[in-house]
Subunit: 433 residues, 4 copies
């Protein structure tokens, strides 16, 4: 074996390719800071989006960027221009909208604590075969009598960090916090009609205290609400606590906000929701074209795969369901990163198949965020879950949807049809089926 | 202390509320399988989306779901109906589009190996203050001479799993694989013009073999491409390998597809990209209104927070940048879940501040997926990165964008303005500022 | 690049070597079950260890195993034979003792909440340079005025799992548990004089309930105590709870017992302890022969390394301190696996260096386990921490010791002496220095 | 619900107790640095351990520490004093030995690639019931025809970190490394007769390069060997590489040395070994007193428990086997922390039960470390695996032993006997059974 062979093929390939295409001098030139070259004018939209503000931005972009009138008309289409004001509270520097295709899955029968009935679920995606796959899962689930679902607990975490001179101050601070709960709760809740501070969870790393503040957030997903409430709580501490931190920050990467974490998996963040179903053997065989034993074997290997790859939780592809559902219904799509933590269990139940999903970290709301935007609220209404009082049901639908996807994908994989579905729906169709 | 106090407040609260609102009988009734109740008719769209197919679906939905003509006109607006065919290869059961507002950030100066120049970056989000925050980061970065960025390595992983009778067969199988590389590579690559199989990485758990197949995927993000190629590779094995697995499956939760994993963090998946900048102290103080030492202190606590919460990697909020960028440019938004794994480092560099981001698991493409859809391709053109030959640059823009966000958020947090920005942009504006 | 090069060098090497040395037939023969070949007689020691029982076992081993009288005399030495009875409650099938060399580190000045004074710490290891390294750390720490240390919280977790017919039963079960806390606490605590059930932490995954039972365990490390208490608690449930689980098991890999887990890191298990020190710059330079800036740079890279390798927590080598300390003092050495989870922070403090360690998952006791054995209890007495009332102090000494090791190793690494120390103490000495 | 109830019971309890027992003034006094108080004399043993050096240390300890002549005679017993020289290369400041009781498990039939036959395995532990539990597992395994076992791959990782001015230098450095493999390999291997550098695995985080150096280490566990070899490799880089790092360190928490990491789990560290067995249903029922279905149910819940608690891998208690085996045979007990990463799979195999364990991160050697010490080498001889050529077999025995423990513990748990065994063997016996 040659000496080169102690380096992996991927590294050798990368080094080889780079060496072949670019000289060191050129690379240095390209990558150095460019402070001499003049900067194009900075874009600043109006405070409120309007037809005029959008058109003003495009007229600048048309000068400075490689874009065309055709592009402008697609992004800043007439309908968007007309309703520009509606987006004002959700975006800055608005130049239009991106149109994400929406497919519908349903009827999906859900026997939820809150979501109860037959639902038509709008999903926004650009991945071919995705809707077809969820539709198949929904059909099987509905034929089996529907998916049982329940929101279990809720509580959005925001965790300011306080650093003290020493452990002793940190300890005295926690003691003060335990004595000042009522005041802290009042200070936090004064900022919000819907948020309730349900627990304070201090965690020490020597002289650092992370103060886990957990809130219910009404029917909003609530990240913004808990930030503002916790800021008020911290300001109260600043004004009233005799033990002064050297530093404090409202967020120090501990709360799990928009990050998948073990903390979120274990203690929950947002809404923790679960869904399950028992699918009769005959239904599996007819619709998934594969035996239950093969599915169980596949699930068993998947459990090893999840552990061995270092996944947080173990599931097939919650992200597909959640991203499509979040975009369609005006949720914060960035929360897909944290919401996908969770567990799918696929087990024998007598002769039949039991499938369960649990998502402890779901961030969804039926009010606030993008839920009030024109097409997003239309989608929520299609689902029957727009407005106050619907967040728990929304969480249950999300879980039921994840379950449909887990069942459908493992069926496709176990039957050996996984690649085929993608090939057929994505590739062949675009060559005009 | 009462006996109740050995249970946490969150659990007690949940139990208490549930007991108060719902009887056991009612819960049982709601959650049991409903096989008696008739199902509404299953929705099945045409194979190709068209004005007619969309309207046909709505006429059924109007009967069966709580939706209205007004909703229909917002989701299935005239522009969407006209261009329905354009979405055909990306969605099934199409009922229209959801309009996600797009704001623009720029000019953002990037000194990348591939992305080199001043970019105007379209971002689609419904989170107020997000665009403003990235715009602030972009302005500071550009004033400092721009962000150095480089794609380092690439390779999308797909990992079929093979289960044998015993370890011996598994070992013989791996031996056969090492002897059959040329044929396996040929079989896989016969399915694709752009995909190249660059490594086969077998991993054993006793009689199970995970066969990591890693591909470059040209300018596509490539998940579909590697699935089809790996299916062909597996079929080759099925036909030619004398050692027969008891079972094999094309995917067993090991590849990290749409899941954040340590495997992806360590070995990379998709494109691994890095970006960095040195920001002069004066610029920080002027634009972020906070001293470098406070930022470093905040970064230090953030590093503890990330570790203590069990995050995969350590960063502030890559998901915000990636979700908004992915949706605007037709990427697969579900991949936000895996792409957010990565590292931000914030360190002193002499008197100035060094910020670096590294994302080993970025799934982006300038062709394929949703990149060809009308508004998505318009956004890519605005960016100057539509079509073949642009994927590496796209990855570098994504990393540079993440860096802007990291800088801006830590500035806001360190300066104590984090909640304020949200409050101002999200809450007050919607009450008409 | 040849086709072979898509396989990593390590795999090729392994396959190549195996193929060269062993035939498939031979491997098959070697690895098949051997039910024909007669088994040697099974060894069964007496219930109580004694000189006679030990000698009886050896006489059988001398027949059946490749051992000698010389080996016997070393393992079953006269002192061990004399005191055989003393080991009876700690081992079965006793054949003697293994002698692990013990070195002493000290005086180590600790300014602990419980451990307060100058300690001589016995450490049992076979790794050359280990004692020397800790001694160096202890000397610097003591010269700096000693290490502040405190036990923060305590609570050993045992988590039985209950599986019900459905989520509804699981929910009713949790409700019943919240109503039955007093009885459950009484049932658990009836089995122990020292253990107190301080919290019950239910966690649901659909129809499965993990019932986290957390105990203080007096001065014992307490794993055995909490198992027995939780068994009683479960039996109480079995007899009294109207909601019947389909299955329940006292342990289902959730408690973190002898496994490093994020659950232990986040919520603590056993004793959570922290220690810190500020070391003057001059002391560092004199004793570690390296500047503070270099140490900080090394710490910064170490923080990336820990995150990127997927460590639970981030530290250098707690395991060295804990294994040596646990073996010397009769702790359960298997708990090294869980106790090593934790955080080291190395930060600038003005001109000086601040070092902090936090170990949330320390399992130590001053009574029970192996703490009463002859040489183990002698070591505890040398430390001044044998017997009731000393467990908290023991935990603080363990943390202080870890801190000494972290400081010493980063000093050695930063100064470029790390390999040298090992070379000198391990290699050269054994060739007679 | 009172306001206090938003704080968890464990925190309230801790704060309450602390407040009750200690005043703030007293705490401050106890925890402040003590630079005034004189320090006892620092202990410094001779370079070589001898009867004289040990006695000299004790005479000082007797003055300064709360120890007695009786303690001294137990730790520094005649046999230890006589053989003091034998320990010299393994310890500094030697004061004697700690005697850890050794029990024997066997015969354990192993059908390994390297370990092949019926073994008597010495285990050193102070945990009652541990030996009995492994003996039970060994008996069942042997009756079933023995455990198949194989070492799969080997390679100890040491990962120096290099920090450059910028990404460009880092890239040029990697390019230089790929061109200098032969020289780097020669430099590293010049320091060792047994170590072979089998791969160099560079990993970039922007301007930082972690250079994974992976070695086979002959029959040593090899941590020391790879440190010295990698130091030489780094010194070669320092002298010959035209690209100069700003800093480099031989270890920056990335190699996984003595830490459980996902890197070790995925890529292996030390020896990767696997073991498995099929146990007939009748044997299970007879010896474990429980049905296979109950065991499978328990395994299924255990798989959820492992994932949900954030374990690296998933197993019951490898640490018990490894700690006892490592101490008995002179391995580095600190490596228990990393070696315990791994997977147990318990699955149906027809009517019977299949159990598999895989440990990718086992650090064991049959030479070097503590393997040459008197009682440790006697134990290795009892096992038949002392000296050169036995490391692979040793790894296979360790895996087989872990398997015995997994089978025995799940049997006990599933049968509801887990607590009973502990109660009987640990508690009742010490009250004289």
């Amino acid at each position: 074996m040659s000496d080169l062979s102690i380096i992996s093929p991927q590294i050798l390939r990368t080094v080889g390719r780079l060496r072949a295409t670019t000289s060191e001098t050129e690379v240095r030139l390209r990558m150095q800071p460019q402070t001499e070259r003049p900067m194009p004018q900075r874009l600043r939209g109006e405070c409120h989006a309007s037809r005029a503000s959008i058109e003003a931005l495009w007229s600048k972009l048309r000068e400075m960027a490689p874009t065309t009138a055709a592009d402008q008309s697609v992004v800043a289409d007439p309908q968007t221009l007309e309703s520009a004001d509606a987006y004002s509270a959700n975006i800055e520097n608005m130049i239009g909208t991106v149109k994400v295709p929406v497919g519908v899955v349903g009827p999906l029968r859900i026997n939820g604590l809150h979501a109860n009935g037959d639902f038509f679920v709008p999903l926004a995606t650009t991945e071919a075969a995705l809707i077809a796959s969820y539709a198949r899962g929904a059909e099987i689930a509905s034929r089996a009598g529907g998916i049982a679902a329940a929101m279990l607990i809720e509580g959005v975490l925001r965790c300011p960090g306080f650093k003290f001179d020493s452990l002793i101050e940190a300890g005295l601070f926690i003691e003060w916090v335990t004595r000042s709960c009522a005041e802290l709760k009042a200070a936090a809740e004064a900022t919000t009609r819907h948020g309730k501070l349900i627990s304070i969870e201090p965690l020490m790393d020597n002289e650092i205290v992370f103060l886990g503040c957990r809130y219910t957030t009404g029917d909003a997903s609530g990240q913004n609400m808990v930030t503002i409430a916790t800021e008020a709580l911290c300001r109260y501490i600043e004004s009233h606590c005799p033990i002064r931190p050297k530093h404090w920050f409202i967020e120090v990467n501990f709360s799990g906000d928009k990050k998948s974490t073990y903390l979120g998996l274990i203690t929950g963040r947002g809404r923790k929701v679960t869904a399950s179903i028992v699918i009769p053997r005959a239904l599996i065989e007819k619709h998934l074209h594969v035996g239950i034993d093969t599915i169980l074997e596949c699930a068993r290997m998947g459990s090893v795969g999840a552990l061995l790859s270092g996944q947080i939780g173990a599931h097939g592809h919650y992200a597909n369901a959640l991203a499509a559902f979040y975009i369609a219904t005006g949720q914060d799509a960035a929360c897909v990163s944290e919401s996908t933590a969770g567990f799918t269990r696929i087990e024998p139940r007598g002769e039949d198949l039991y499938v369960s999903v649990t998502l402890p970290n779901l961030l969804v709301g039926s009010v606030g965020g993008g839920t009030g935007l024109p097409s997003q609220s239309a989608n929520l209404r299609l689902l029957g879950l727009q407005g106050p009082g619907k967040a728990a049901a929304l969480a249950e639908v999300a879980a039921a949807l994840c379950l449909c996807g887990e069942m459908s994908i493992i069926g496709a994989i176990a039957a050996g049809h996984f690649a085929r579905a993608h090939k057929k729906l994505a590739r062949q169709r675009c060559r005009k089926c």
